[in-house]
Symmetry: C2
């Protein structure tokens, strides 16, 4: 082995995030963990042949290898010989390694349940508002149904999820410090990103919900994450990607009643 | 402490599953882990005041306690002082404790990603086929949209998920033994239950897909789980609940093209 090779070896291999270019999407939640922790990562969305890299990990030809099952869809995380997918699973793997959650004990399962619920309510269900019929068809082909689904989201689902999150913040386990689970953890970053996307998609709805005063803790947490030095620097950098036609989209008609 | 009390104390506290009565639903996946492992559990769906028990863990008044955040929705697992929700999270917790998955290492994340993908495709997306607009409204109010969503599920999503699962079975990591991840693990039970429910909901569609011969490994795995002695005994017992108006429902019109 040449000295150069030995010099460049690290205690931990590089983290590599494989995700679609041009949208924040699910990959953005993973990015926020790296950014807050100040840990270097390779982001294939910003490298050449970004789309091809994603397809190599989700096309029907991709078969996995002796150590890893094939992955279903991005985001995909590669870390040394490990290749994994499914956003909550990637977060579960990264949190203890980035100092954003415990490695073992009951706390692991409490944080994982909070992440799963936030991702259900403020990511998956937001995507459903503009694609309630078929993910592989255009929005325009399902606009009428999207208006109905969006109405149910605005009136029932979003208040339900925000009410739950406020309840978590008001709960004994949160402890009144403003974070979901006592100390700051990765689930606060998950909530920040998913709420940011939901605000982008439904600005009038979120403003109206803010005025009720029922979810003040959620809004305060959102502002507090924004002010964390590494997150603040990241959001102001050109590494932060603008919203576009991804999960969190803004269609003004989805905020209007028919 | 009286001798009787000492005699009845156990090394591990009793597992308690809190779920809706009258439907297999998400709770059924948890039950299959206990049944296959031959581990005793309390099933509140089969106890008195079953609905009240669920509501106590999901109503807006439920606040959690000093150790546990409030839960969002059933299934909920109580084990000693721990209370957790979110199905994939409960499975993650139980698998190593019931001998159905490793406690640490990369394998944990591979199994978790497989469970998440199966639950996305063959549970959450099946529910969407009959409730594409609003979970809190009746099927009859969203029947037209359900027909469209079901068509997309039958023609695009279901083949995509089954194709992926067959790819996992064909992959090097599965090893050709018929289980998703080498040895038998909890994800094989997750696939069994979710595929069983999908077959119930879309019998003609699944039969048609069977005839293509493209997913033989998935069908073989399904049959193999059914023949596991503890599962076989459970399926024949009255503990197994019939399908009804839960996640997996059979509406013949959702298999017909308009």
């Amino acid at each position: 082995m040449a000295p150069e090779t030995r010099r460049s070896s690290k205690t931990s291999p590089e983290y590599e995030l494989i995700y679609w270019p041009g949208i924040p999407g699910r990959g953005e939640v993973v990015r926020l963990l790296f950014e807050d922790a100040g840990v270097a990562y390779k982001d294939t969305a910003k490298a050449s042949r970004a789309v091809e890299t994603v397809l190599a990990h989700s096309a029907p030809e991709s078969a996995g290898d002796a150590a890893n099952p094939p992955t279903f869809a991005p985001p995909v995380l590669r870390h040394g010989g490990l290749v994994i997918n499914q956003l909550p699973n990637i977060l579960l793997y990264l949190a203890p390694r980035l100092g954003l959650g415990p490695a073992s004990g009951n706390e692991v399962y409490h944080l994982n349940e909070l992440a799963l619920t936030i991702l259900d309510g403020l990511l998956a269900e937001v995507h459903e508002t503009h694609h309630p019929i078929a993910t592989d068809q255009y929005y325009d082909e399902q606009k009428a149904e999207a208006k109905k689904r969006a109405k149910a989201f605005r009136e029932a689902r979003l208040p339900k999820f925000l009410g739950y999150l406020q309840r978590v913040l008001d709960g004994e386990r949160s402890g009144g410090g403003g974070w979901l689970y006592g100390e700051f953890t990765y689930v606060d970053l998950v909530l920040f990103q998913c709420f940011d996307g939901t605000k982008y998609a439904f600005p009038k709805t979120v403003e109206k919900l803010k005025k009720t005063g029922k979810y003040d803790g959620v809004f305060r947490l959102y502002d507090a994450v924004r002010e964390r030095p590494n997150i603040k620097a990241y959001l102001e950098s050109d590494r932060r990607i603008d919203y576009a036609d991804g999960i969190w989209r803004h269609y003004p008609e989805l905020e209007e009643d028919e």
